[in-house]
Amino acid sequence: LSICFRTVEPLEYYRRFLKENCRPDGRELGEFRTTTVNIGKCLCSITTADGSALVKLGNTTVICGVKAELAAPAADSANKGYIVPNVELPSLCAERFRSGPPGEEAQAASQFIADVIENSQMIVKDDLCIASGKLAWVLYCDIICLDYDGNLLDASVFALLAALKNVQLPLVTINEETGLSEVNLKQKNPLIIRKHPVATSFAVFDDTLLIVDPTAEEEDLATGTVTIVTDEEGRLCSVHKPGGSPLTGAKLQDCITRAITRHKEVKKLIDKVIKSITPK
């Protein structure tokens, strides 16, 4: 009977749970789904990428692969490298996505990730420069959703952070005589990650209730979404509220407070995983 009610009146079904301050999957309104992360060649199994990570947020599965290539820096920023993020929502992750050119959600997500990298300064482009005006690293960060069950942005930012922490760049020198670059694959250095941004997404229900980490079903029923990205110092790297029901400043503040708590949880998780894969 409850399955019929859920199909016929999904919003009313949801409201019944929200009245009791919980959700159909048993979570509280401020509770995240189980987060797991696999980093590196052994666990994440992208052997061709320079850095990789697989993040599961409940059922939402996102994999990020980082490939580093060499390129000449742009004329107006001769000592800066490039970071090129790309989020893909292939048709295998959810039935709403069709194959073909990237849809609006994928493009908006790619822009969001690019903004997060830029705003948080997690990687300073100057660090990617090898020889000013001649050679710099380009980091292609490909984030692919394998299973879409809501909260894509949180999982993507987390996967990106984990993958970048795993990247080992070989030492590149420019031979003065020939002017060519020489890549030393034996000597690898990790990327300098200055900040650790973590995203926390909320769905707004009926203009007043805020629930954390929405599933795909909750996102469809919600009247708006908010994503807050914070770094370890408690600074806001991004407040992303793409329309949706209006919120007061106080409600936004509640979101930010929850986001700061979430940051600590995620940082602990990432540190634990990195420590477990670092060879002693």
């Binding site: 908006a108 408690g234 503040q253």
Partner: protein
């Protein structure tokens, strides 16, 4: 490109929150924005243009909205409606879409990083500035309909 797609998503969802679509079933409302010149605060200009256009079209709206851009300068002061130059030099640029009902936040978009207090200060400044913009809407509409 990707940037335009992202802006379209922001604008579309902001408009969807205020337009009473229930009154127009099986209807597509097409909003086309063409940038003639960009001298800073582009996103809030788009928001204002969109709202006035929706007003002019006579569509039923739950509330009006206006776009306000705040730039956080390196010395910590808040500058509203920055020029392109000021945006570049700023530490952070925050754009808010403020609704006319109780000055709630409809849309928020930030560039650069800032502390939580600074964001709240910018939001308060934007909410105060919204009054000026809504008065401008009123004057424009009054002017338009008093001629004809």
């Amino acid at each position: 490109g990707v940037m335009e797609r992202s802006r379209e998503q922001l604008l579309r969802q902001t408009c969807e929150a205020v337009v009473l679509g229930v009154l127009h079933p099986r209807t597509a409302i097409s909003l086309v924005l063409q940038v003639l010149s960009d001298a800073g605060s582009l996103l809030s200009c788009c928001l204002n243009a969109a709202c006035v256009a929706l007003l002019d079209a006579g569509l039923p709206l739950a509330a009006l909205f206006c776009g306000v851009t705040c730039a956080l300068q390196p010395d910590g002061s808040i500058l509203l409606d920055p020029t392109a130059r000021q945006e570049q030099e700023a530490r952070a640029v925050l754009t808010f879409a403020i609704a006319s009902s109780e000055r709630k936040v409809l849309m928020a978009n930030t560039k650069g990083s800032c502390s939580v207090e600074e964001m709240q200060q910018c939001l308060a400044a934007a909410q105060r500035a919204a009054d000026t913009i809504f008065q401008f809407y009123r004057n424009s509409v009054r002017r338009r309909y008093s001629k004809s």
